[in-house]
């Protein structure tokens, strides 16, 4: 069973709601970052919501995904809870990673979310490995790697696709072509008209879909998933989309004009899908507004939860390194050899 059935009215409403939730989450995250409440840096998914939601909705709940440094949307699309996500952005103990990961490393392995990832192109090998594991165990599971257009220039992405193709693994490679690899336009990074042409080298299906259309992404991933679980190997999908915000918040964006941003904003994936549902009689305009208001309210609650959450105790910096107890961690906790010689001379 797909995670959300786009054929039903309820499913369509849920898909719209999740896209709105991502938009609200990242607007709030951007504001809170600007206010100095969120440490580090954040990369927002605004404009690309249809890709994450379309893809994750067409997957089954047990399927795996790998994500990118721009991972908030993938998390919400995979069903992660926004309060624990926001708490993670705040570096709080109640966050998904107990505050150790932050925006770029939110993960929920039990939910099949194998982590946002700060290294461009690192996700596809992990997805290939998850697909290998699922295939070896005979599980009806696939692994989908989200990665950006910039990652298509990374060697390990090609190695991952080659392995998955050669071994016929149940993997899906989904490139989010948001037109910029950090601050450099896609055409200055690749000599391909469509990045999906990459698939030809690996003899797997590859096609480009409209990444501003959640239905198009959903259908592409649904078909790719069917191929994967039928033993027909991986599929390479390019979603043609656009990043409305900078590479990171605070990016002064010398690489593009406001006109370009506005042109893509007129193709807003959330408005487009909402309008379609109104036209089809699934929702009224008022119901769309209510859905948006509810999404924004949930995110306000999530931000309040994060604000009121607990800072980790400094001692937690020494936890979670290993499954086993490693004497060095207790010996050197605090930054140098303890006055009593640490555990190494405890006898």
């Amino acid at each position: 069973m797909v995670t959300i059935d786009i054929e039903t009215d309820d499913g369509q409403r849920e898909i719209l709601r999740r896209m709105m939730l991502i938009r609200a989450f990242d607007n709030e995250a951007g504001d809170r970052f600007a206010d100095g409440e969120i440490p580090g840096f954040v990369h927002l998914y605004i404009g690309e919501e249809a890709v994450g939601v379309g893809a994750c909705s067409a997957l089954e709940p047990d399927d795996y995904i790998t994500s990118t440094h721009r991972g908030h949307g993938h998390c919400i699309a995979k069903g992660l809870e926004t309060d624990k996500m926001m708490a993670e952005l705040y570096g709080k103990r109640e966050g998904y990673c107990n505050g150790k990961g932050g925006s770029m490393h939110i993960a929920d392995v039990d939910a099949g979310m194998l982590g946002a990832n700060g290294i461009v192109g690192a996700g596809p090998p992990l997805a290939t490995g998850a697909a290998l594991s699922a295939a070896q165990k005979g599980e009806d599971r696939v692994a989908l790697a989200f990665f950006g257009d910039g990652a298509v220039a990374q060697g390990q992405v090609h190695e991952a696709i080659n392995l998955a193709s050669t071994w016929g693994l149940p993997a899906i490679f989904l490139v989010e072509n948001n037109k910029f690899g950090e601050g450099t336009p896609v055409e200055k990074q690749h000599n391909l008209e469509n990045l999906s042409e990459t698939a030809e080298a690996y003899d797997i299906p590859g096609f480009t879909v409209n990444g501003m259309d959640v239905t198009a992404v959903y259908e592409a991933v649904e078909a790719a998933r069917e191929r994967a679980v039928n033993g027909d190997g991986p599929t390479f999908i390019e979603a043609d989309t656009y990043r409305y915000r900078g590479h990171f918040e605070g990016d002064h964006q010398p690489y593009r004009d406001d006109d370009d941003i506005e042109a893509w904003q007129r193709r807003c994936p959330i408005d487009a899908f909402a309008n379609r549902l109104v036209d089809a009689g699934v929702l009224t305009e008022d119901e769309v507004d209510e859905l948006r208001a509810a999404a924004e309210a949930e995110i306000e609650d999530a931000a309040a939860f994060a604000e009121n959450a607990t800072d980790p105790d400094p001692s937690e910096a020494y936890e979670d390194m290993y499954d086993v107890s490693v004497p060095e961690l207790s010996t050197y906790a605090g930054g140098s050899l303890r006055a009593d010689g640490g555990s190494t001379t405890d006898q």
Binding site: G118, A122, P125, G129, L132, Q136, L163, P327, E328, T344
Partner: protein, 335 residues
């Protein structure tokens, strides 16, 4: 009587080479746990470039003895993904010099996932690789790089010096829920020794082993230099009583055992095939200084590669590779 013989075999030992010990460790763990699998370049049909996995493909399936493309970043990364999702891969990197190709997946994914995710994932992966000079393989197939991995937080690093240590530590590595790098010195694959045959025999990671007891000088050695140090100790036995320790585990490091030996002998040689600067030697000496400074009767001696790469020409290679003569000279300087 036959029952007695069988019982004594189960708990007894058998003479085998390091190569056989590693192969048997893998064979036993593959049989014990169906989530365990081996992948790497030429590990199946070819049996491994040093014949370490020879015969495993016949006993297990192609699915579990998996030949890979020459694609270290890809298949090591796939091993990380498989380990995060319930498998227990053994990944062979043919020569440790090739670890550089797969370093991103090692340092930013394998080593960090558990910590970054707040302890909510396990990383039960074992990386086996070959190190060391001595066969004219030149600089890109002879390196000893284990210091990098012992240094990098989130990884476990072991480097056995005997067949028993190889078998016991590899089995522990495969059963561990942490990422373990298992460094095999390619020049000791033919070295023989007694190895317990009990399929439940394992050795705890993080414990060194006193291979020879002595009173005057301690040699703390790894890999090939364990045997070389035992030879040196034997040769000098009329003049000086030498204790030889196989360090076995580079991280965690068994401070207790090495400090106890220092407290007895007061003099220490550290022998490891890493380049000398910033190497295993430096960490071992630091532990001794931190924990046993007042037991030191002389400055510690380091035996290792003098900060060069491993050259091709045999005369050059022998010049830089440490051996029993270098250990002997170091002991004589101290004794």
């Amino acid at each position: 009587m036959s029952t007695d013989t069988s019982t004594s075999n189960v708990s007894g030992t058998e003479s085998m080479t390091v190569r056989e010990a590693i192969r048997e460790a893998m064979r036993e763990e593959l049989a014990r746990d169906e989530d365990v699998f081996l992948m790497g370049e030429d590990v199946g049909l070819f049996g491994g470039v040093f014949d370490v996995s020879d015969g495993l493909l016949a006993d297990f399936s192609e699915d579990r003895i998996r030949d890979t493309p020459i694609s270290e970043a890809g298949f090591l990364g796939a091993g990380v993904g498989a380990a995060a999702t319930g498998s227990r891969p053994i990944v062979e990197i043919m020569f440790s010099d090739f670890l550089g190709v797969s370093m991103e997946q090692t340092m930013n994914q394998m080593a960090k996932m558990r910590y970054m995710f707040g302890g909510k994932t396990e990383m039960p992966i074992t990386i086996r690789t070959t190190e060391g000079g001595g066969m004219g393989a030149a600089s890109q197939h002879s390196g000893t790089v284990h210091t990098w991995f012992a240094h990098f937080p989130g990884l476990i690093a072991v480097a056995p010096g005997t067949p028993a240590a190889a078998k016991g530590l590899l089995k522990s590595a495969i059963r561990s829920n942490d990422p373990v790098f298992f460094f095999e010195n390619k020049m000791i694959y033919e070295q023989t020794g007694e190895v317990p045959t009990d399929p439940d025999f394992t050795l705890p990671i993080g414990e060194a082993s006193v291979e020879r007891t002595g009173e005057d000088v301690t040699v703390i050695a790894t890999q090939r230099l364990v045997g070389e140090s035992l030879d040196a100790a034997e040769e000098l036995s009329d003049q000086v009583s030498v204790e030889v320790i196989d360090l076995r585990s580079l991280y965690p490091l068994d401070t207790e055992t090495i400090v106890a030996s220092l407290e007895k002998t007061g003099r220490v040689v550290v022998a490891d095939e890493s380049p000398l600067s910033y190497g295993v030697h430096a960490e071992v000496v630091t532990r001794l200084v931190e924990n046993g400074f007042y037991s030191l009767d002389a400055p510690p001696e380091r035996v290792g590669v003098p900060d060069t790469h491993i050259p091709f020409s045999p005369s050059l290679e022998q010049e830089v590779l440490p051996d029993a003569a270098d250990v002997t000279a170091a002991i004589e300087r101290l004794a």
